[in-house]
């Protein structure tokens, strides 16, 4: 190939890498200091672009000078930084004391609210930003024309890296950021004002996200889908680089930028999955990313997050459970067809959420990709019925098998890691599975999926199918609950609370976790199979990131510290969505607001609130 083309293509890769790094550096700083998995980082990026397409043209009216353009970009970034501060002060500060995962749920609520707020304020039409004055043209590089603005972007990345280095090494604020990244408790013990440090970090993180967004306006138009399109990619960059490592994020961004630029030449459809493949490979080889370090607190006996001492059902719980199950089973008698339909879905999601909380609450294994096993179960059942010509019954048996099989396969690698890296590896595998279902059109039907996945004749009425789902879901939930109380469940909790100690008393931690991961995959696969037959079709959204996030939201709403919380959370989440969706186009705003309200009112989830109520009486 022509060397000048290779050079220009590699410059294109560097320009993308630079943009990606600016955004990712903010995320990695925020995570390093606060340990918050900040889903709202993508929303800050989007807001940066929207503020910039509003502010910059207004400034350019005064004078078309490059300086005013860049002043506008910096103003936009600062505005977004202040929004980050607002999020910290109004929301995150109130929930620092609760399990770290809970903040993830709160930021997810923010994502939903910002999406609709942007639609409301700026309207649904994409807004193209102005080009940068003085940088509109192309520059000839060995006979190939290359945009001047992208040459400028290539410089921005290293410049931001340099400025961040100066900040981290030459200022007290930076030193504190580094210290908190290494050991947050120690910084607190030394009397540093953590509140101020956190607020400052959130400002810096949101500022960088906003800067990344504002710098994009000469290249892409501001659109309401920007947040979700960037957030996973940015997470991947920070994880590959090592969470908390700015230099690592830079290396990872350059790596991804180059792989994308040259990958599309060989495999034009690779962009869907490339970054996740890279992340899976890096994490399997280097469990803490390129430049990350093992969690300093990993060896310490930290206060565990999750189910502490599972109590058996007391009298009140027994009564509640009896009423809940009885009214559920009687629902077809007094509810209309639609109520039966919704109850069927709630049962399916309850099983999926319960299996996830079996991992998260009981095992301390946080999975960001649980929908993979749900979706693969659905695909196994759906493909057997439509392509294999089998009836529903054997297909429903195959669903948990497929879920378990893939959970065993992926879990083999996943359980070698811990914490956020483990979570991100589950996400990577889920995205790879998603990409296969999406891309293998001949077999899986691609993104259109496969239709015609309907129950056998005897179960085709909504009522009969409801009872079938109820029997399967309740049976599986009770079986999993039994496992939590069995020695196997206690062993998982021991491994969660202190891996070295569990290891010291002779527990094979890795094997137990692997078995737990597989078992959760079996349950999720069954839920997926039941879901496919209730919808009549399968498609890749069943194993997409939004589905995984929904499951996480369900267990967090329910409370990861209680055994049955996941069931309550699934019912609450689905009910809220079902109530708001028909009411208004802005139902995502209301869903997000409800999530945030519940997080603030019940910081330990609905199940946790019930536990506290019980403890008081």
């Amino acid at each position: 190939m022509d060397p000048s083309f290779l050079l220009v293509q590699s410059l294109s890769g560097l320009a993308s890498a630079s943009s990606l790094f600016v955004i990712a550096s903010g995320l990695t700083l925020v995570f390093g200091v606060t340990r918050i998995v900040n889903f709202a980082h993508g929303s800050f990026y989007m807001l940066g672009a929207y503020v910039a397409v509003t502010v910059v043209p207004w400034l350019l009216e005064i004078d078309r000078s490059p300086w005013l353009f860049f002043a506008g970009v910096l103003i936009s970034a600062a505005v977004v930084g202040l929004l980050g501060v607002a999020m910290e002060l109004l929301l995150l500060r109130r929930i620092y004391k609760v399990p770290e995962l809970f903040q993830l749920l709160a930021t997810f609520g923010v994502v939903l609210m910002v999406q609709d707020a942007v639609l409301k304020i700026w309207g649904p039409v994409d807004i193209p930003g102005p080009r940068a004055p003085g940088l509109r043209h192309g520059v000839e590089i060995f006979g190939q024309r290359f945009p001047a603005y992208e040459l400028f972007l290539i410089v921005v990345g290293p410049a931001v890296l340099g400025l961040l280095w100066l900040l981290m090494h030459r200022t007290r604020f930076g030193v504190l950021i580094r210290a908190a990244t290494r050991d947050r408790e120690m910084v607190g013990a030394l009397g540093v004002n953590q509140a101020l440090l956190f607020t400052g970090t959130l400002f810096l993180g949101a500022f960088l996200a906003g800067l990344g967004g504002a710098l994009q306006i000469p290249r892409v138009s501001a659109s309401a889908q920007m947040d979700l399109s960037i957030i996973t990619e940015v997470f991947v960059v920070t994880v590959i680089g090592g969470m908390g490592s700015v230099t690592g994020a830079f290396l990872a961004a350059v790596l991804i930028g180059q792989l994308q630029a040259f990958g599309v030449l060989v495999f034009p459809k690779i962009t869907l999955v490339l970054v996740f493949l890279l992340m899976a490979v890096v994490l399997v080889i280097k469990p803490w990313g390129l430049l990350g370090r093992p969690e300093p607190a990993a060896g310490r006996a930290a206060l565990p997050e999750g189910i502490l001492s599972p109590r058996g059902f007391g009298g009140a719980e027994r009564a509640l459970l009896g009423v809940a199950v009885a009214s559920l089973l009687a629902l077809p008698l007094f509810g209309d067809a639609y109520a039966v339909k919704v109850a069927t879905e709630v049962l399916v999601f309850a099983l999926a959420a319960f299996s996830l909380n079996f991992l998260v609450g009981n095992g301390g294994i946080v999975s960001f990709g649980h929908a993979a096993y749900f979706g693969l179960g659905a695909y196994a059942a759906g493909l057997l019925v439509t392509k294999g010509g089998l009836p529903m019954e054997p297909a429903l048996l195959a669903a948990p098998l497929a879920g378990g099989l893939f959970a065993a396969l992926f879990g083999f690698f996943v359980v070698r890691l811990s914490g956020i890296y483990l979570a991100m590896l589950t996400l990577a595998f889920a995205q790879i599975a998603y990409a296969v279902c999406f891309q293998w059109v001949e077999f899986t039907g691609g993104d259109n999926g496969v239709v015609g996945v309907w129950p056998s004749a005897w179960a085709s009425s909504r009522h009969v199918y409801f009872y079938l789902v109820a029997a399967c879901a309740l049976g599986a939930i009770l079986a999993l609950r039994h496992v939590i109380y069995a020695p196997f469940g206690a062993t998982l909790r021991a491994a969660r609370d202190s891996e070295p100690r569990a290891d010291a008393i002779g527990i094979d931690v890795r094997t137990h976790r692997w078995l737990a991961f597989t078992l959760a995959g079996v349950a999720a696969g069954l839920a997926g199979g039941l879901y496919a037959f209730s919808k009549g079709s399968i498609d890749p959204t069943m194993l997409g990131i939004p589905m995984s996030v929904d499951f996480l939201a369900m267990i967090l709403l329910g409370g990861i510290q209680t055994v049955m919380g996941a069931v309550v959370g699934a019912a609450a989440f689905h009910a809220i969505k079902d109530v708001f969706m028909p009411l208004t186009d802005y139902w995502r705003f209301l869903l997000g607001a409800s999530i945030i309200a519940l997080v603030l009112i019940f910081p330990r989830g609905l199940g946790g609130a019930w536990g506290a109520l019980r403890a008081r009486t």
Partner: protein, 411 residues
């Protein structure tokens, strides 16, 4: 098909709200349309794809009110649409469709935007034996391989629109073609149709490069570089929305489109033309909707009514919404029954005079013959537009009948 995007200013939102209220009042008070309203369930991606779906809903309201004022349908009953968000996923959409069918007691359902949502709802309709009038999803599969008795589609599908473009390229000499399409069903099937059809217009045409960036995440620099490297004479573009804007900007700066012939799907639709602004490239052959140049009297009347009521210009979605209601009203009058089997039979080869000319719901593949406009892009001031436009009747570019029979054998 698409991820579309568009205009809901605050004023627009008020107009929508006011429109809904007004529609309810008109439906009740109308002097001529009396009797129990005929309820039709309409589900669409009102939240995710507001750019398309809000103008679409506006126009449906406008059309329904116009019909109700003139006496309604089926001998004086008013039309009433129950609009619902389909959540933009098949899972949500199927639940919403069940809600409409069971709780809202609608006569039948219509709408949907994304192809996977449309297919899932179509299969539900087949299972429940209820009519589903698919309006926007473009996937060929809805009326071909996955077609079923209860599902009818109005809008020209991917094949039809691609064929309009390849026929517009007849007589050109460019042989080396590059394809750029979003990596999902719409893009893939447009590319596949293009490869099939271009040889008929330009003998000896070959594909020298293909790029399939992920939807909504085009890496424009790398994509433009890869296309330019293959030195094509011409480009077939399927990108739209934010991907299109990024691609066009990058391509303009790097000179990708200089001395190259470009065919581009949907680019002339206001939904995608407006966000391009002054970056709109010149001389591309596109499908689109140059509403301001369409001189048919009924179309002009509809445009004037739309602009007066919503204080906004019509989009492609508006046209589709308006034509949908015209076809459905004609259907109800013709069938004079809400029995879904009777409705399906009445739809077969039903011909309706609409604001976009006569539209027939072809019986063999249950696809409407609604057409669209083909023309050349041109920059007028700071906004793109189309010139040398011509309306291509959908009837002239439908799938050949033997292909339909082969594909729908299972249906």
């Amino acid at each position: 098909m698409t991820m579309a995007f568009e205009t809901l200013t605050r004023r627009g939102a008020l107009a929508v709200g006011g429109g809904l209220a007004a529609a309810a009042l008109v439906g009740l008070r109308s002097p001529r349309a009396q009797g129990a309203p005929i309820r039709i369930g309409e589900l669409n991606s009102y939240s995710r794809m507001a750019a398309f779906s809000v103008p679409y809903r506006n126009a449906m309201q406008l059309a329904a009110d116009t019909i109700n004022r003139a006496g309604g349908v089926m001998g004086g009953r008013p039309l009433e649409f129950i609009f619902r968000d389909d959540g933009a996923t098949p899972g949500d959409a199927v639940r919403v469709a069940e809600d409409l069918l069971t709780r809202e007691n609608v006569a039948f359902i219509a709408g949907t935007f994304l192809s996977n949502v449309g297919l899932a709802v179509a299969d539900l309709a087949n299972q429940r034996r209820r009519l589903f009038f698919a309006t926007e999803p473009l996937s060929d599969a809805i009326t071909m391989a996955q077609g079923n008795r209860y599902t009818w589609r109005l809008r020209p599908n991917t094949y039809m629109q691609t064929r309009m473009l390849t026929e517009a390229a007849r007589g050109r000499t460019q042989r080396r073609w590059a394809i750029v399409a979003p990596n999902y069903e719409y893009g893939q099937s447009a590319a596949a149709n293009f490869k099939r059809l271009i040889g008929a217009s330009i003998p000896g045409a070959e594909i020298v490069a293909e790029q399939y960036p992920a939807l909504g995440r085009v890496d424009a620099g790398a994509t433009v570089g890869a296309l330019a490297q293959a030195r094509p004479d011409a480009i077939f573009n399927v990108l739209f929305g934010p991907d299109l804007t990024a691609f066009v900007r990058e391509g303009n700066t790097r000179g990708l489109f200089e001395r190259r012939f470009v065919l581009s799907l949907l680019t002339g639709e206001p939904e995608y033309m407006i966000p391009l602004g002054d970056e709109c490239p010149e001389g591309w052959i596109v499908t689109g909707y140059p509403w301001e140049q369409v001189e048919w009297p009924t179309h002009r009347a509809y445009v004037e009514a739309y602009r007066a009521r919503f204080n906004d210009t019509p989009r492609k979605g508006s046209l589709l919404g308006y034509v949908t209601v015209q076809v459905l009203a004609n259907l109800l009058n013709r069938a004079n029954s809400l029995d879904n089997e009777a409705l399906v039979e009445a739809l077969r080869d039903l011909r309706t005079e609409t604001v976009t000319g006569p539209v027939t719901m072809r019986g063999i593949d249950q696809q409407g013959t609604m057409g669209t406009w083909v023309g050349e892009t041109v920059l007028r001031g700071r906004q793109g537009g189309m010139r040398n436009i011509r309306y291509v009747d959908g009837a002239t570019v439908m799938f050949p009948e033997d292909e339909v029979r082969a594909a729908r054998r299972s249906a």
